[in-house]
Symmetry: C2
Subunit: 347 residues, 2 copies
């Protein structure tokens, strides 16, 4: 994805690289050092830098000038995200992320024997936590004056609590029978809409000393856009191209992810279709052939079309909210463009 | 364990209870709310509150008066600790902690069916991370003025990076063949000595605006005491009474924990003893009978006596350092008492 100037993504990457160089392994041991390198590789390679970009434009929208402080704060969000992804991949048992082997699988591969698997998981929990700790370190040291930093930190705290609660609801929902559109929408509100769009914008805004009015306008823009973002993610998770997304297009189906897409399919399915969904959705033995059949059901039940429609409705709602927001025009233009790119992306 | 007045532990507990009440589940869902209650129960029940007490006396030693700010900061360390313990129990596959079912096992028990086990682990990763996030929230909002808070946050960042690196080295060491005393000492330096004693003291000190000289004296006291603390922990992990420690006295043996105790046993063992250690140390099938045999080997090789001796040497070193530290006399007395209690505890 390419975004308009200034190129926030590459500035964030350089800041992250600098940060990771200063936080070398405190223990002089080759295996610990290898783990630090693996974590740095994961953080620095791949990723769309969505949250840093939104944080940056949240700051600019609230009148903040282009500065080094906001790049540091934006980069902190990426460290938080990397940590959550590492943990998420352990929970989901995923093999692939950003087109590469997941961190816990890479760690397991460093060793052999019966303990390797458990070691990969344990090491992944630790490295994910380390990245989360560093995100806090980096935000706290971004150099914005204490009063505004406190305000931003409050939003950061809310964001982390929300995303973890949303993820918890997500895994709990998978144990429940049935699938509800309302529940799936609650999950994506907390797990994605607040976490990926609303809160990053508000963190940037709060750092720039934004008024309550501006922060609220970021909610009106961010929540629908964030929902659209996750709905697109769900579509790509099942219908996407693996080389583009860097993730397997079988994972969501095998996990039985309780997506809005799936909930609509269940709602509209015939008894025969319901039987096929029941047999294969969430079945770890699912093959490419079963996946093709399930994808067909998601189309035939109108679920895919409904989700595409929901994406458009939400992008429209977001862009409309933006038009009346009292934010800097340059930021409004950048955010409108971002909204379109995020909702219609292919990766 | 009872400590001298003021009773920091119970004040910390009340502060934690108040904090947890304000951070209720943001998602209106009975399962998410149940998870929050489970996390709060774990945080509030049991635990020796070692780190908060050291943080408190680190502050007092540097001239800070008794205050609400330091109780909040001290309580933050307990949230960090709870999060790390929850993750640690997942990594070790432990059933019992603080005399109760571990968090991930409790979560698994809330559900049934094939997904319950994985759900418990995933939910435990999330709740552990939530507690870690909250520790940062609580420290950042303790109310100490920004300049001193920044200094303390730097120590907090170093502490978290060190403990995670130490834990990583710990699990990596278990995959290595052999057992080295030097390596076991490196693990406990990072995983425990810095994390449990040195850094909590320095965080308290930094919050009170301590000079570099005072912070260094906390290192000279804290590092040997922290090593003694972990050496005692290792002895209790194998020779302790389960009702007192709240942990199984078979866990360390079954995991094959690379303790200093074990390393000395290996160093001094006869070929026959080495054979028995090789068969059963780290063997998940180990029974109470095998455990008794291994305990006998730890005694007969002189490993237990050597570790007890090391504990005494380290307590002596710590108390000697304290005598020349330029800190408030009341804090010095409290810390000397704490040193004795921590090194000779039975739980």
């Amino acid at each position: 994805m390419s975004f308009i100037q200034p190129d926030v993504g590459s500035r964030v990457d350089r800041r992250l690289a600098g940060f990771l160089e200063t936080w070398g392994a405190p223990v002089d041991d080759p295996d610990v050092q290898a783990a630090y390198r693996l974590l740095a590789d994961f953080i620095l390679n791949g990723g769309k830098r969505v949250r840093p970009q939104l944080c940056y434009w949240g700051w600019r929208g609230a009148g903040g000038g282009d500065s080094e402080e906001i790049i540091t704060a934006a980069a902190a969000l990426e460290l938080c995200h990397a940590g959550l992804l590492i943990h998420d991949d352990i929970m989901d048992g995923s093999e692939l992320r950003r087109g590469r082997t997941t961190v816990h699988r890479s760690l397991a591969g460093l060793h052999s024997g019966p303990g390797a698997e458990a070691f990969g998981q344990g090491g992944g929990i630790l490295l994910g936590t380390l990245s989360l700790v560093w995100s806090d370190t980096m935000l706290s040291s971004c150099g914005v004056e204490p009063h505004r930093l406190r305000a931003a930190h409050h939003v950061f705290d809310a964001m982390r609590t929300e995303v973890i609660s949303g993820q918890y609801l997500d895994i709990v929902a998978q144990l429940r029978s049935g699938a509800s559109v309302a529940e799936a929408l609650t999950v994506i509100r907390f797990k994605t809409a607040k976490y990926t769009v609303e809160r990053p914008l508000q963190i940037g805004g709060a750092l720039a000393g934004a008024s309550m009015e501006v922060l609220e306008s970021y909610s009106r823009f961010g929540l629908p856009l964030g929902e659209a973002y996750q709905l697109r993610d769900d579509v790509l998770g099942t219908f996407g191209s693996e080389p583009e997304t860097g993730k397997s297009a079988l994972d969501d189906l095998r996990e039985g992810k309780r997506t809005v897409l799936f909930a609509y399919a269940v709602r509209n399915a015939s008894p025969a279709q319901l039987g096929r969904l029941g047999s294969w959705y969430g079945n770890p033995e699912l093959t490419e052939e079963h996946a093709a059949e399930l994808r067909q059901i998601l189309c035939d039940t109108g679920a895919l079309a409904r989700v595409e429609e929901m994406i458009e409705e939400r992008v429209h709602e977001a862009v409309t909210a933006l038009a009346t927001a009292r934010i800097e025009p340059e930021a409004a233009r950048a955010l409108a463009l971002l909204a379109d790119q995020l909702a219609h992306r292919t990766n």
